[in-house]
């Protein structure tokens, strides 16, 4: 009986955690949506910071599975600049992820690219199509991100 109770408590806790993260399992039985990583600024906080700075983040969605060895990632667009925000559980993974991003730029080319960390959250901002020729948007993204 005690075991059954413990199981119920565990199940309820898992459901709560899942609910709190606001990410549900995608329809169609795909891989489970990854959960946010604790102990570092979440993507939501990054988007809120950008909005507070007068920027308009658009079409941000989780990347499943998360790329760049991250625990959780979202990608979207801010004023024509592609932005990816990833959360990491440890510094080693973050360093590897950062290296992967730079290697990718070296392979595919990028007009302008910035990768920057705040705690264990990584921001990668890329201007592929010269939408931000003087880097002002990217700099605004960075300024807000650095304050997290």
């Amino acid at each position: 009986m005690h075991r059954f109770r413990a199981f119920l408590v565990l199940a309820a806790s898992a459901a709560l955690v899942q609910g709190a993260c606001g990410k549900s399992k995608p329809a169609g039985g795909g891989p489970a949506a990854p959960a946010h990583v604790e102990g570092t600024p979440h993507t939501d906080a990054v988007l809120d910071a950008w909005k507070s700075a007068g920027l308009k983040p658009e079409s941000f969605a989780p990347l499943v599975p998360p790329p760049y060895v991250a625990g959780y990632c979202e990608r979207g667009v801010v004023a024509g600049v592609d932005a990816t925000v990833c959360e990491y559980a440890d510094d080693g993974a973050l360093d590897r992820g950062q290296r992967q991003i730079k290697d990718e730029w070296a392979r595919t080319g990028v007009h302008t690219g910035v990768v920057l960390r705040a705690k264990r959250t990584l921001l990668s901002a890329v201007d592929h199509e010269l939408r931000d020729p003087n880097g002002k948007t990217i700099n605004q993204l960075i300024l807000a991100f650095r304050k997290l």
């Binding site: 080319g109 020729p133 003087n134 700099n139």
Partner: protein, 314 residues
């Protein structure tokens, strides 16, 4: 035939793999944008990459493969904060670490987007920050290489900060020039227009401990001025120099270029002295030469104007 086809296929694969490496140029902070990219300024003040290189590498320092813009951002439609400096000084941007002292070799008044931290050896006087500390050996060693930044700015006409050079701090060790190529408007205030043609009144005796004052004759420039001891140099009308070279440690001081239309007439340089290469005058004026770094030598001035008794005869 089969071998040829295989060779061609191999060559194609090789070519593709080589070209797969895209151009990635690393920048450390903000920088001007090359004209081919539309010009202007890139305001990203953290390390970043572009697919294009700097338009003029003389305005950059390369540290661990990253380009750092060491120049004055003003002529590039820069819209951020600006702080006036006078003469060469260590680069003191707070969030940029080189691992060793790096210097800005720009002559005269100029701007940077940073201001010196409180603990740095700068004095704010006459509208600009002056470096009053001691240049380390690296400054003199690298000067021949990096002083070319002045050549990069020579053809660019823009507003320099107005600086009152008459209140230059005694601890300033550089040269004071009242005008230079591309300096629009009255860049230097406080320096009265020289009443005579003679330029380059300066002192340079003994060691790096004060400013050398070099004035300009408002376009009627007669050439280079020599400071310090005078050992029989003469400048002849054909633009040649006669006489022995100045002693090591002697100080030739190039000053600002003449105004448009006039030109430098003192050409060949003494080989052992501090004269530095002097190409023919360029239309519009061009910065000419600079004092060479002297190992262990350098500026030794008493500051202020020296009497002149001297240097060259026409």
């Amino acid at each position: 035939m089969r071998k040829i086809l295989m060779f061609a296929a191999g060559l194609t694969v090789l070519t593709l793999s080589v070209s797969a490496e895209a151009a990635v140029v690393r920048y450390m902070s903000q920088h001007p944008l090359p004209r081919k990219m539309g010009g202007g300024f890139c305001y990203i003040d953290v390390p970043h990459v572009h697919d294009f290189g700097p338009s003029d590498p003389r305005m950059y320092r390369q540290v661990d493969g990253e380009y750092y813009f060491v120049g004055d951002p003003s002529p590039f439609n820069y819209e951020g904060p600006r702080h006036a400096f006078y003469g060469p000084h260590p680069i003191v941007e707070a969030n940029v670490q080189f691992g060793h002292p790096e210097y800005c070799y720009l002559r005269g008044p100029h701007y940077h987007w940073y201001e010196p931290p409180a603990q740095a050896a700068f004095e704010l006087r006459g509208g600009a920050y002056w470096f009053t500390g001691t240049y380390d050996q690296g400054y003199y060693q690298e000067r021949p290489r990096y002083v070319a930044v002045n050549d990069a700015y020579a053809p660019i006409v823009y507003d320099r900060p107005a600086v009152d050079v008459t209140v230059a701090p005694p601890g300033f060790h550089g040269e004071i020039v009242a005008a230079g190529p591309g300096w629009r408007g009255r860049a230097v205030v406080g320096a009265p227009p020289p009443p005579v043609v003679q330029v380059g009144v300066g002192i340079n005796v003994g060691g790096p401990s004060g400013a050398v004052f070099v004035e300009h004759d408002n376009g009627r420039h007669r050439g280079w001025d020599r400071h310090e001891r005078h050992e029989g140099w003469e400048r002849n009308e054909r633009g040649g120099w006669r006489g022995p070279p100045p002693a090591p440690g002697g100080g030739w001081r190039g000053n600002g270029a003449p105004g448009r239309g006039s030109g430098w007439r003192a050409n060949p340089a003494p080989q052992q002295g501090a004269w530095r290469g002097n190409p023919a005058p360029q239309p519009g004026g061009g910065w000419r030469g600079s004092p060479a770094p002297q190992q262990g030598g350098g500026w030794r001035a008493g500051g202020g104007k020296a009497g002149h008794g001297n240097a060259w005869k026409r």
